[in-house]
């Protein structure tokens, strides 16, 4: 792999090599080693990466110097990004935890995310019709949240029991293909059960008003989304780090065999992982419905991939990483179109919002598959 491409890159690199003089021989050895590892494909990849980075910087500079957006706009974008990002973070937890214990991408997690709010929609619609949503908004939203979490948890649990458990130890592609199949099966099952149209989620009026927090005007539901997501993530982090069961979970994700020898029921812990991931996804689903006000059987697909991006960004298998990655992705997505696409003179930059997230996914997978915080799994995985 290395020999074929040493020469074309060798020329310019040696020319700009280390200065003559002290430790020359040592430097040459290092350089040769570096060159051996640096291939033509690497060069092309770095060129692509550098090109994209230049475009981003140029675009941002152009936008900022044009002064089209005020500080207020940027704050609005940031708040929106934070809300969106905390939803991604909640979904990403499911991906990252499952990857931690099973080393597989649970492709069907996006449907776990969809099943909760879609089921809870009927509860919310019932509360809306009976007027309970207006008279007791907190109580009824809590009920909706509970139903959503229950539905998602059930789907996640059954998914693991029926589809994934018989495949322990199968070749790598087998569970992944199963997950893809399960994803489409679940999507179209819910389409058959609940119908194929978009369902408008009932609106809680109290959450649509603008609130004033520290001089920043934000929408009520954004505050609720951010606060609820933060609470959930805090609780989950506490559970995984401080409780006995959390310790067992971490042990299973470190090393299944040793965990089993220590008397941990590995199958139960794997089920538990799916249950926790399902709960987080169900909660994220209701928050998503609060923000975007509609549910649909296909609604899980795009947020699912983005949440996976967030999980990879933070270092897959790493729980705080997933949270961080989600919020980072939320910021990039809400700031990106106006920050660097607008400056490049691209028409209707918001259409390319998803493309930014996917480009980021591909770039992270190429340049830093270990993610921001992930080092632990890096060697073993992939």
């Amino acid at each position: 792999m290395s020999e074929a491409v040493k020469d074309p890159v060798g020329g310019p690199e040696t020319a700009s090599g280390p200065p003559p003089g002290l430790q020359r021989r040592h430097g040459e050895g290092m350089l040769r080693k570096l060159l051996e590892r640096f291939t033509a494909t690497d060069l092309i990849m770095w060129l692509i990466g550098g090109g994209i980075l230049t475009l981003i910087l140029a675009g941002s500079a152009a936008t900022l110097s044009a002064g089209k957006y005020t500080i207020k706009h940027w704050i609005d974008f940031m708040v929106f990004g934070l809300a969106q990002g905390s939803i991604y973070a909640l979904i990403a937890l499911g991906y990252t935890m499952v990857y931690g214990v099973l080393r597989m991408i649970n492709f069907a997690h996006s449907e776990v995310f969809m099943s909760g709010p879609y089921t809870a929609y009927f509860v919310a619609a019932f509360f809306h019709r009976s007027g309970l949503l207006e008279s007791h908004p907190v109580l009824s939203m809590f009920m909706v949240l509970l139903v959503s979490m229950a539905a998602s948890t059930l789907v996640a649990y059954l998914l693991e029991r029926i589809a994934y458990r018989p495949l322990r130890g199968a070749p790598r592609l087998v569970p992944l293909i199963t997950a893809i199949g399960a994803s489409f099966f679940l999507q179209y099952t819910f389409r058959g059960l609940y119908g194929s149209g978009f369902q408008a989620y009932p609106v809680v009026k109290a959450l649509e008003r603008q609130w004033d927090i520290l001089g920043i005007r934000v929408l009520g539901f954004q505050v609720v989304v951010i606060a609820a997501a933060a609470l959930m993530m805090g609780a989950l982090y506490f559970f995984v780090q401080k409780t006995k069961m959390g310790k067992a979970l971490r042990a299973v994700s470190e090393d299944k065999e040793s965990a089993a020898l220590m008397g941990i029921d590995v199958d139960r812990m794997i089920s538990m992982t799916f249950i926790i991931g399902g709960m987080a996804a169900g909660a994220a689903g209701v928050l998503y419905a609060l923000m975007f006000k509609q549910v649909h059987f296909f609604m899980g697909f795009i947020p699912g991939i983005k949440a996976f991006t967030a999980a990879v960004l933070g270092g897959i298998g790493n729980i705080p990483g997933a949270m961080l990655g989600g919020i980072f992705l939320g910021f990039i997505e809400s700031l990106g179109p106006s920050l660097f696409l607008d400056g490049l003179g691209i028409v209707a930059p918001y259409q390319l919002k998803d493309a930014i997230a996917f480009t980021m996914l591909v770039l992270v997978l190429i340049f830093r598959p270990t993610g921001i915080l992930g080092e632990r799994l890096a060697v073993k995985k992939a």
């Binding site: 990849m45 199949g181 399960a182 099966f185 179209y188 058959g192 991939i305 998803d354 493309a355 190429i366």
Partner: protein, 561 residues
């Protein structure tokens, strides 16, 4: 001990009955029963919807009665059937008491009518339970039949269901052949098979199957032992028959079925391409549709007068499209070279989506037409003959399929093909054996992408226009599904898979809505039960079942020592 096992069996029957009932309720609530009930298999006796429920109950009972060879098996099967139908009856009761339809869109009065056989809930639910019990007993009986009878029964029931389901296709074909049209009148009536016809097919296929079980092996051996000249003549006869059939197929099948055939053909092309990437080289590519789009859009941009850049003919645009497909395969392949397995899948999925979003955006609209797509793509012509109708297009696609099939067949056994398979099995070992990973992988991406672009080019001229919505991720999933169902790495498997997964839904319009549901279920079921596919490639099958073979082989070895 025996008592304990028996108690276990009863409990298992109840458990399986509950699971079966839950499956039946799900099938009913997602609307499959109602949608399928519009088509009768046997006229006025058995609709496809009822057959579906019956099949679910029978299957549950078969599982419950497994391992019992006496009256106990009948009882276990019957119990499972009864429990399952009680669950289903519970749904009917619930539906008559509360308005389930507010949540479950398919819980309509029609469904409950169907489930209680057109009766009111009171005689309907006991009737349902009685039928469920009988189905369970029947399942228990089937479980105890000797193997040859079991397979004969399976084949004959399959033939009846097949004839009933495919009646719209079979009837016009039969009617076109003078004497056979009388047979068609005998077997089919307006809405399904006649009772006599169904019985005839049932007995005929069962009898044929039994005779085949007895004499088939000897016949096959006889053919193998034929003198050289005779066997060669037989082979030539088969091949010429096949060629004649392939050439005459559109004339036999008529316009509508030829249209279906062209769609299947395009998917065969796509499947053969992805088969190289996933099946041979083991690189799970979920963004495969991107190359299909690249092929289509290249032909569209080069030939359509709508954009006004070029106005080439189809034949001069085709090589450009294929070449561009191969180049983009390499370009998208380079960044993902170092990834394996799931990361590769997600990254390629990302690529596919990026390309679709870019094509859809207003930003690239002047060049790619945006959401409106590109129209007025000319038909392909060849010396005055124009590939316009599906029947004519069929030959273009057939030529493409034959070419691509030949290339992938020759590639499979070549040096590069074996390198792909080595990479599939273990990258590190393959590299240690001196295989150039970069070149091997890129060649797989490029070949697969070129085939896909070829399919896309034909697709563009077939439709006369291209839209970004034709290129969503579902296409990638469809293709993946068909090569997995057919058998990864198997070339005939791709054709079988495409015919089953693309052809059948086109023929069965009721089925079309549940297409992706069935695909998903098929993917999961294949992976759980038969990971090598319906028409497996020999080597791959051996590898997947290696562990099992080893244990079965090691037992007699130990016995000997």
């Amino acid at each position: 001990m025996a008592r304990k096992r028996s108690a276990h069996g009863w409990r298992r029957s109840v458990k399986l009955g509950l699971v079966t009932g839950a499956v039946a309720v799900l099938v009913a609530l997602i609307g499959m029963v109602e949608a399928f009930s519009q088509r009768d298999i046997v006229a006025e006796l058995l609709s496809m919807g009822h057959a579906l429920i019956l099949f679910v109950l029978l299957f549950g009972a078969l599982l419950a009665a497994r391992g019992a060879y006496s009256a106990k098996g009948l009882a276990w099967g019957g119990l499972a059937g009864l429990v399952a139908s009680l669950v289903l009856g519970g749904l009917v009761l619930l539906g008559s008491l509360i308005p389930l339809r507010q949540v479950f869109i398919n819980a309509s009065p029609v469904l409950f009518q169907l489930l209680s056989f057109g009766e009111e809930p009171w005689p309907g639910i006991p009737l349902l339970c009685g039928i469920g019990f009988l189905a369970g007993v029947l399942g228990g009986t089937i479980q105890m039949l000797p193997h040859s009878l079991k397979s004969a029964l399976g084949r004959s029931v399959g033939a009846v269901v097949g004839a009933g389901v495919l009646q719209d296709m079979l009837r016009p074909i039969l009617a076109a052949w003078g004497p056979l049209s009388e047979l068609s009148d005998l077997v089919f009536e307006a809405s399904g098979l006649t009772s006599e016809g169904a019985l005839g097919i049932l007995l005929g296929v069962a009898g044929g199957s039994l005779v085949w079980e007895r004499k088939g092996q000897r016949l096959l051996k006889g053919i193998q032992n034929l003198p050289h000249g005779a066997s060669k003549a037989l082979k030539t006869g088969w091949v010429s028959l096949l060629v004649a059939l392939l050439l005459l197929l559109p004339q036999i099948l008529g316009l509508f079925l030829s249209e279906v055939l062209t769609i299947v053909g395009l998917y065969v092309l796509l499947g053969l391409g992805l088969n190289i990437v996933v099946g041979f080289a083991g690189l799970l590519d979920l963004g495969y549709v991107a190359f299909f789009a690249i092929g289509s859009y290249t032909v569209a941009i080069l030939t359509s007068p709508e954009l006004g850049f070029f106005e080439l003919s189809f034949w001069s645009a085709l090589p450009v499209a294929v070449l561009l497909g191969a180049v983009s395969g390499v370009l998208l392949g380079i960044p993902v070279l170092k990834m394996r397995g799931d990361y590769l899948a997600i990254a390629t999925l990302g690529f596919g989506e990026i390309i679709r979003i870019l094509v859809l955006s207003d930003f690239l609209r002047p060049w790619l037409g945006g959401a409106q797509g590109i129209g007025k793509i000319p038909k392909a012509g060849l010396g005055g003959f124009e590939f316009g109708t599906p029947q004519e297009l069929y030959y273009l696609i057939l030529a493409g399929c034959l070419l691509v099939g030949f290339v992938s067949w020759r590639l499979r056994d070549s040096r590069i093909g074996r390198a792909w398979m080595a990479v599939r099995e273990d990258e590190d070992v393959a590299q240690a054996m001196g295989i150039n990973l970069v070149g091997t992988k890129l060649l797989a991406f490029a070949t697969g992408a070129a085939f896909s672009a070829l399919s896309g080019a034909i697709f563009a001229t077939k439709l006369g226009s291209v839209y970004p919505h034709s290129f969503n991720v579902m296409i990638s999933i469809n293709i993946l599904c068909l090569i997995i169902v057919g058998g990864m790495g198997s070339i005939p498997g791709v054709i079988v898979g495409a015919a089953a997964l693309v052809g059948l839904p086109e023929l069965l319009r009721e089925f079309a809505e549940y297409r992706l549901l069935v695909y998903g279920a098929a993917l999961v079921a294949m992976m759980l039960l038969k990971p090598e596919g319906l028409w497996p490639e020999a080597v791959h099958k051996r590898e997947l079942h290696e562990g099992q073979d080893d244990t079965s082989r090691s037992v007699p070895a130990e016995g000997r020592s």
